[in-house]
């Protein structure tokens, strides 16, 4: 563990008795006590996650919007009249494969904030730098002195607004879903986004590393359940949210990964947009995504093969046991020409057994 990267909250995790694992080179908590209790706390009350391993970059300069418009499969101009508004998008290579998925907050025409994944940090930053070089007036600055704390759950906002310091509490009062803002005292450099990765309402707070402990402790003191990566994964999968490296990769387009809703081929005037990978998306998709609920015994997991009348039609990209449904669920990628409809069944190869699973729409909750 000694050579792993540590977040500003590493000591807090140790003090709470967390089970720490190597997650893409970071020492992060997988669970503190019961993973299912952590999961249920977020569904029913509130939980807090340390997601400081994620990468925050500020995009600045007069070419910020043209740059992001070229870079992203979703259209930054959808949010460019709405200060603070967040946009989910994939960043594609020339063949339409997904380099990473991200959230971008539009702040001004000359300033957007992007949050990308941790495990993809090096290739993301290299790609951003390479693409930015084609624009005369845009800078990409990775912010490495920050912490990220996600507070999620149906009671999260209520607790923040009644128990947290005035500037944080008041900043969340007029915050719409999928919108972010700096708190009033700009010297604090605290940014709050009403976003998350659990399917619940809540916020993600981006703040200077030296202020992380105080906010974390405030959560613990107000009975917000500390949650690890284990619960984060079951929560996001129930919510049908893609995980980079499992459901998304450079070998598949966002359309082949169930994310066509996040691809804007045309702008608001119905004119085709010129973004990296757009040409490749014009060809037919080879795959589509489905949701699965296991009918037989076992647990669905990534890479298990799917069989339709003993013909292999695809594989699971993410699977788990759903604490909310008390059943095993999965997201799977199948050939796009496979004629399987919602509620039809197929078989999953789980080790030496073929177990029946039903195709469902997802999100699962």
């Amino acid at each position: 563990m000694s050579d792993l990267l540590k977040t500003p909250l590493y000591e807090q995790h140790q003090n709470l008795g967390a089970r720490i694992v190597d997650f893409g080179g970071w020492a992060l908590p997988v669970n503190y006590s019961s993973q299912v209790e952590e999961h249920n706390a977020v569904r029913n009350n509130a939980g807090v996650f340390d997601v400081s391993h994620m990468t925050v970059s500020d995009i600045t300069g007069s070419d910020t919007l043209p740059f992001l418009s070229k870079l992203l499969a979703n259209d930054i101009y959808k949010v460019s009249s709405l200060p603070g508004k967040a946009l989910y998008s994939c960043m594609l290579n020339e063949s339409g494969g997904v380099i990473d998925d991200l959230i971008v907050y539009y702040l001004t025409d000359e300033y957007c904030r992007v949050v990308t994944n941790a495990a993809t940090n090096q290739k993301d930053m290299a790609w951003l730098a390479k693409q930015a070089a084609s624009f005369s007036n845009v800078s990409v600055t990775e912010k490495s002195d920050l912490a990220l704390i996600a507070i999620q759950g149906p009671k999260a906002l209520d607790i923040i607004q009644t128990k947290f310091s005035d500037d944080i509490a008041s900043s969340t009062k007029n915050l719409n879903r999928f919108q972010g803002t700096f708190t009033e005292n700009s010297a604090d450099n605290i940014f709050i986004g009403r976003t998350g990765y659990t399917g619940e309402d809540g916020v993600e707070i981006i703040l200077p590393a030296n202020k992380a402990e105080q906010i974390w402790q405030q959560c613990i003191d107000n009975n917000i359940q500390p949650c690890g990566l284990g619960a984060r994964d079951t929560l996001r999968l129930e919510a049908g949210m893609a995980l980079y490296g499992a459901d998304l990769d450079e070998e598949h387009t966002p359309i082949e990964s169930g994310l066509s809703w996040s691809v804007a081929l045309n702008d608001k005037n119905k004119i085709p947009r010129d973004f990296i990978g757009a040409t490749a998306l014009a060809s037919n998709s080879r795959y589509k995504m489905i949701g699965l609920i296991l009918e037989g015994k076992g647990v669905l997991r990534g890479h298990q093969k799917l069989l339709n009348n003993s013909e292999e039609v695809g594989e699971i990209t993410s699977g788990t046991f759903s604490p909310t449904l008390q059943k095993s669920i999965a997201i799977a990628r199948i050939r796009s020409n496979c004629e399987l409809s919602i509620d039809s069944t197929l078989h999953v190869q789980i080790r030496k057994n073929q177990v029946e699973a039903r195709i469902v729409k997802y999100p699962f909750i």
Binding site: R19, V30, Q35, V36, G298, V299, F321, R351
Partner: protein, 123 residues
Amino acid sequence: MTITYYTKDHEWLIIDNDIATLGITDHAQEALGEIVYVEAPEIGTACQKGEPIAVVESVKAASDIYAPLDGEVIAVNTDLEDSPELVNESPESDGWFIKIRLAAPLDASGYMNKEQYLESITD
């Protein structure tokens, strides 16, 4: 007279004459977290020391259970089919997995007693 042995794979086995009862340790169940499924072998399955003989699935992940000795599976804990949580609640008693008839008299070297095992997990 029965003797309980422990393995480096975090399994325990109770030897009663030529029958071994097998399960996972309290330490193992705690590391795995909430157990939601146990895939047991069929009765009559031959098992070979060091080879996977069962699978335990927690919310977190699937883990192989290794046969600690050569023999034949003569019983499986059918209570785990509907109540896999027994492995969490009572790992070293009601949460047992399988019973194996030993192919040869037990060679006790290579196993640990409880004290040695508990010491091995404090490192």
